[in-house]
Symmetry: C2
Subunit: 557 residues, 2 copies
Amino acid sequence: MTPSLTRSLLTERHRPTLERATSALRDRGHWSAYSESPRDYDQAAGAAAFAALRGTRFELDQPGADGWVGDEVSPYGFPLGIRYPHQNADVLVPAMRAALPAWRDAGPELRALVCVEILARLGERTAELAHAVMHTTGQGYPMALQAGGPHALDRGLEAVATALAEQSRHPARTEWTKPRGRHEPLRLASTFTPVPRGVALLVGCRTFPTWNGYPGLFASLATGNPVLVKPHPRAVLPLALTVATARQVLAEAGFDPQLVSLAAERDDEYAARTLATRDEVRIVDYTGSSAFGDWLEENARQARVFTEKSGVNTVLLDSTDDYRGLLANLAFSLSLYSGQMCTTPQNLLIPRAGIGTDEGPKGFDEVVADLAAAVDKLLGDDRRAAGLLGAVAEPGVLSRLAAAAETGEVALASREFAHPEHPDGRVVTPLLVRLDARTPGVERTLLAEWFGPVGFAVAVDSTADALVLLRRTLRERGALTVLGHTTAAPVEEALVGVCLDERAQLSLNLTGGTYVNQTAAFADYHGTGGNPAGNAALVDGAFVASRFHWAQTRRSV
Amino acid sequence: MTPSLTRSLLTERHRPTLERATSALRDRGHWSAYSESPRDYDQAAGAAAFAALRGTRFELDQPGADGWVGDEVSPYGFPLGIRYPHQNADVLVPAMRAALPAWRDAGPELRALVCVEILARLGERTAELAHAVMHTTGQGYPMALQAGGPHALDRGLEAVATALAEQSRHPARTEWTKPRGRHEPLRLASTFTPVPRGVALLVGCRTFPTWNGYPGLFASLATGNPVLVKPHPRAVLPLALTVATARQVLAEAGFDPQLVSLAAERDDEYAARTLATRDEVRIVDYTGSSAFGDWLEENARQARVFTEKSGVNTVLLDSTDDYRGLLANLAFSLSLYSGQMCTTPQNLLIPRAGIGTDEGPKGFDEVVADLAAAVDKLLGDDRRAAGLLGAVAEPGVLSRLAAAAETGEVALASREFAHPEHPDGRVVTPLLVRLDARTPGVERTLLAEWFGPVGFAVAVDSTADALVLLRRTLRERGALTVLGHTTAAPVEEALVGVCLDERAQLSLNLTGGTYVNQTAAFADYHGTGGNPAGNAALVDGAFVASRFHWAQTRRSV
């Protein structure tokens, strides 16, 4: 049967996108193939599509199906009621492995084109995906749309373009001629084939199932590896839609749809443990807690394991020439999605003597009070606040909030209220607690991750002391982000030095519409892979290059 | 103090080499920056330099020196008598770590230039290095010169050029502008710095200390990592000369010479175990037995471990249009350096019905007899044979030869004789043993590595059965090389398929002056990193990309 998605059709449709993406990788300027404007998507149609999925069985026609699982509950307060097929991995994974050779033999270019078609089809389902993300993660709709849709697609496309570049480092066929003086030269002809490692396992996370999942998924798929997607049991739908879309495109392009499969699990199954240690599984991508990330690194020895784990993000305040901008920017960063981001700042280090600003010196107390006021102002209107904060995904956030309030003097209490549009959804505003770096034992608080809307305003003796604490935090716990505010060149230099030494990503003096929580595909790396918060960076060469090997065939000419 | 090796001097001297190397990486045609002709090197001066080192202390001025070690014995029958400093690693390794920031801050381009200067200085010492390699490994002088000198330098330069390319994927500074409709665009300026993982440990091997050592050494150094060189206790001198040369160049360029240091060990010290698991050590490069390679992969969890381990190399004979060429080529491959190469063929799979040739069909017995005769002819003259075979490095080779002769019917006995020029050196010719794949338990023999001049001529029922045995061998034991001879397109296709499936490097129909044992830098990959013979390939992107991380600093503009 001739596939309906032919190579020439895919080439015509997506070759320009791939070329643009490849050049964006090289210059790292702003670029996106997918609109991030909510107005470009039909929210009502997305809502209808989502509503139609509720209470149904999500059919995938995967081999080895042996039951139905799924009990997702929207953080906005209702059960999704969607049942997903549960698989016998002993049937499914070998079937995926059997699909590998034909996908390998398709070559890097066709694989990349198929991947871009998958991304394009996902792009057509953006509003539907946005609802799926919203009602599994608790993000507000605009954020679920942007981060769960176009920004996730950007990261996926970045992975595809990086994979194609890695597999196109040199021609697939070469001739080699070695002169030998008066003798005939030696002549060899070689073919070089990128060969995948094996089955890749994606272990999805609850809070950003697509954004954190697409880089590994598409990096593995574009380098020839079948991908088994094991979503978080509370955030299955966004990845189930992704898998279904990928399977459809693969089939239309003439490939075995088992190349992208879903492993939904029972609540108590801990399927990632058994899947990640299967012999066929040679790649694992994981986002989540350090405890399980460490376990994977330790135990999935047959696989190359890419992790993004917990960290402790620091903000260092030294001085600013835009005090109001600093406050507004930081208030937003602390509030966005109730701090349920691996990139949200936690420890705000402020010299007890205060900081220099364009409004004159500001004492520690004043900075803390002004920041609390800025958060209050940002979140004063419940409806607007709810859109920014979203709903609380996990009860752990609430218990951490309560515990954090006991660690010091509360500068800004967290406020909980019912979501104006979804009265069963719980919304919480950030908590700001004053701590003193001199307090004995305070490190126990500062060197732990308090995932959620928890900020510690920490009085330190000096900026120099702040740098020492930052270095210790990075070394012992790692971080996805560091934010610094300073107008002093020596302080900036020292801050850069600490971040280089401890391999952390640094943002400086953000006062406008760019937030430390956010990175842009093609331009910014997410994480470095070089500190305890994870061993992978999205999307660098190392993230992609070790997903395949070069097999060379050489022969005498 | 102004360094004598300035950036501008290094740029003038080596920038063209780096550019040529980078383009060679891309087109993978023949290229070398270093002459491989022994006539271009002064053998007598090399011998004199080597003689002057014998019986002396090899001074390196490294911190933490606490004694002298070394009892190398030339396989040609005399002790070297050279004593190397022994180090207290608790002093040396922190000193190396302390040298990292300045080397990191030098940036990729200057680091690459310094590395090429080191390679150029090593090139000037080629004849001396050749003697050092000859009298530690037992290689004949021409091979010690070529493989130990220019070919090793080629691999080092390949690693440097790959590292520079990886670190130059995008500009070090970028501007990012995101349009926002009627609002002011968002503007960010970023700097991107490649930051090294930490101290790299090179665990050297006995048989190719420079060839197998330089890729990891230079890949690590060029990406900013200090390198601790732990040579095999019987092959210290080639790497000690390398370290001394690197330290000299680093000092002249104004860098801390501790960036490249030597860890010579006592005979019973097993220093690699304790060094490889130190917290400062974040990269390990290893060539040697699977047992210790597996141990490193299992235990050096704080490091990225690159291994080349044991494997079982197969030759599959199906048909040929150049029977004489096949025999001569294979006889040479079996003989070179008495088979003490990780790339030497071991299992020769031959259909019991024989093979088709340009001289008509040849039965199994005839092929084996003709191959034995070809080896005999190649090695008929002791002086010429000794030059090709070299001397036996390890007693294990002799015991394996004796044991292998008991596994089946000897088709060609190994001959041992005193080296004509070095009467205390032991030379051995290849053993060829007939086995039958049908014999119960023969897998125990065929699936073990018999490092040394041991070839098994294995009768198989058919080419199809040979492919099955090849696949099993690759899957269970891995291989650095596979050689096939066939004129039948379907057989070739099947052979290529098996090698792609099992991720092995394949050479086809080699009948001239190219041998399966040999690969050329810039053109050929050595290993794939994808089968049990090792997790690394020399030199692909994965070998280099994961030696550093990207640290980004971004700020509002």
